[in-house]
């Protein structure tokens, strides 16, 4: 059964198409990721699904309810963490949580089992004001607040933006725990490396979805062999390879350059031979499995 079903949603702001004919489904109990840069339309999609925004056209249901007609029913069933959600800074951890519990017509005790693992981590700071918490702890508190009424579906809009690596890792661990408890999770992120942590992902750019599948499938459908190369002077190498007619694409990727060749059956030796023309010092090349970011770049090239 589908928890979320989106069909041909369009949303425009003036002349900008924020969401351009988007369709996707999220299965019950799935951890689904919307992956794309700022301005790709992720937030608009979240707002439409949480009944905060009306689409220009298209339909969407959440937990079987229509986002326009049955907005009250949806508001009872979803947990939502907006991108800029920062809680009430002047209220303590406990007060924030109690407040949201009451607003959602429940109490901390009622659904304690669900938030226990997360809440235990911030509990020592119960009487600290939310404004004085670190980014990671704020995020945990926000997640507790979004979970307090035991929602069927959790919508998390860029929950890891501006949070450090340690907190990010902990956060994804928490999401996996929640998934085990049967909660459907829709999460958005601009960080491509987080895509691998989702069951299925949609790569989204300029309001439209370029690809939907499991991360493994997306990686496997990368059309060509991908190579990573480096040299002492990486910028020179980048310029040289990019200018070479045998190289199809070449771009920086961390400490390496990633490149594809025009010929189908090229290998490391082909590239070494090409590079040799330019005499780079400390040259290395290896064939690699593409990352989601490579796929994203490839798909953007197709658009």
């Amino acid at each position: 059964m589908s928890s979320v079903r989106v069909k041909n949603i369009i949303k425009t702001y003036g002349e900008v198409k924020a969401v351009d004919n988007v369709s996707f489904e999220v299965q019950k109990g799935e951890l689904f990721g919307l992956i794309g840069p700022d301005g790709a339309g992720k937030t608009s999609i979240f707002r439409i699904l949480t009944t905060l925004l009306l689409a220009d056209s298209g339909t969407a249901t959440v937990d079987g309810y229509d986002v326009v007609k049955d907005y009250q029913a949806i508001r009872n069933r979803v947990g939502y963490m907006p991108g800029r959600f920062s809680l009430y800074q002047d209220l303590t951890v406990k007060e924030n949580l109690t407040f949201f519990a009451t607003v959602f017509g429940t109490s901390i005790e009622e659904n304690y089992a669900l938030i226990k693992d997360i809440y235990e981590q911030i509990r020592p700071f119960n009487n600290r004001r939310a404004g004085k918490l670190s980014g990671g702890m704020k995020q945990k508190l926000a997640l507790c607040c979004a979970l307090i009424h035991k929602p069927a579906i959790l919508f998390l809009d860029e929950p890891t933006t501006g949070v450090d690596v340690v907190s990010r890792k902990e956060f994804w661990d928490m999401l996996n725990q929640l998934k085990k408890q049967g909660i459907t999770i829709v999460v958005s992120t601009p960080y491509m490396d987080e895509a691998m942590l989702c069951d299925r992902i949609a790569l989204i750019q300029n309001g439209s979805i370029m690809s939907i599948n499991t991360p493994d499938h997306i990686v496997q459908s990368f059309p060509k062999p991908l190579f990573a190369a480096k040299a002492d002077n990486i910028y020179r190498l980048l310029q040289d390879l990019r200018a070479d007619t045998e190289v199809e694409s070449c771009y920086a990727f961390g400490e390496y350059l990633h490149l594809t060749l025009r010929v189908k059956d090229g290998n490391e030796h082909t590239i070494s031979a090409i590079a040799a023309k330019y005499n780079p010092g400390g040259f290395e090349v290896k064939r690699i499995a593409p990352a989601i970011e490579d796929c994203f770049i490839e798909l953007m090239g197709n658009e």
């Binding site: 794309g36 840069p37 700022d38 301005g39 790709a40 004085k132 918490l133 670190s134 980014g135 990671g136 702890m137 933006t161 450090d164 690596v165 340690v166 890792k169 601009p190 960080y191 491509m192 490396d193 750019q205 990486i234 910028y235 020179r236 980048l238 771009y251 920086a252 961390g254 400490e255 970011e293 994203f296 770049i297 953007m300 090239g301």
Partner: protein, 262 residues
């Protein structure tokens, strides 16, 4: 007279290469709290140096000192050959700064922004004109030159912001989480620009807590609780920590952090 003793002699002793930044036992203390605790490192001219750390590790405090915005409590540091205690104004003239949050004025046009920053860094009027025309054509912004910056897409804004930060040809440019939020292609274009700047001899000092951004740097230092706990190339760090990515390296280092918060 001390204004004239540039470039520094401290850097030359330690290496044949020109040093853009030299830090020795730098400490900044607020009461009992050592925000920056006895850190030492060098950055070469033309190097892309990643300055990493979790929130609250002391990155911002250290960077403020290096930008000439705050005095250290003890230790020494030379930036672009100038002393952070006595030559703050000279430092400010010789560095550029770009952050993701503050960069350009949305309600000024592209050209007006360039002219404004060129002006405050003392670039001459005629020079501003030729350089800004060059800049606009290099960025391919000819059509948008008279448009308000607020109307540009985020990626273009970032590229423009970086160009503006190095418009006065500083020796060092400080970048604060420069590529967050943009699409992967724009991000590559941005890194191309950074590589180019470095190839032209500008030292690039990147602070970030995103590790994929860090992997582009020549060398990385990781700050934990006010101290620099690791410093090497990304490849060596990964080897040292037996990790696949900088994410894992950082996780290993930062996990033990006592401090939290901003």
């Amino acid at each position: 007279m001390e204004d004239n003793q540039s470039p520094s002699t401290v850097g030359r002793q330690s290496s044949t290469k020109e040093k853009a930044i030299v830090c020795k036992n730098l400490t900044k203390q607020f009461g009992d709290f050592k925000a920056v605790n006895n850190i030492s490192f060098d950055v070469d001219q033309g190097e892309i140096f990643g300055f990493l750390g979790a929130n609250g590790a002391g990155k911002t405090t250290a960077m403020r000192i290096l930008c000439g915005l705050s005095y250290p409590t003890s230790g020494e540091a030379m930036v672009a050959g100038f002393d952070v205690y006595r030559q703050q104004e000279k430092i400010k003239k010789n560095i550029g700064y770009m952050s993701q949050k503050f960069s350009l004025y949305d309600n000024l046009t592209v050209l007006e922004n360039i002219e404004f920053y060129g002006g405050i860094y003392g670039v001459q009027g005629a020079e501003i004109k030729t350089r800004s025309n060059d800049l606009v054509s290099t960025l391919g912004l000819e059509k948008e030159a008279k448009k308000l910056v607020g109307e540009l897409p985020l990626g273009w804004k970032q590229k423009l912001a970086f160009s503006v930060a190095i418009f006065h040809r500083p020796k060092i440019v400080f970048l604060d989480e420069p590529t967050g939020g943009v699409d992967p292609v724009t991000r590559r274009q941005f890194w191309d620009m950074i590589y180019e700047a470095a190839a032209n001899g500008i030292t690039v000092f990147v602070t970030t807590h995103y590790m994929d951004e860090a992997e582009y740097c020549n060398r990385i230092s990781v700050m934990v609780d006010g101290c620099v706990n690791a410093m090497d190339t990304p490849a060596n760090l990964k080897k040292q920590f037996n990790a696949h990515s900088m994410d894992e390296v950082f996780y290993e280092l930062a996990r033990s952090a006592k401090r939290t918060g901003d």
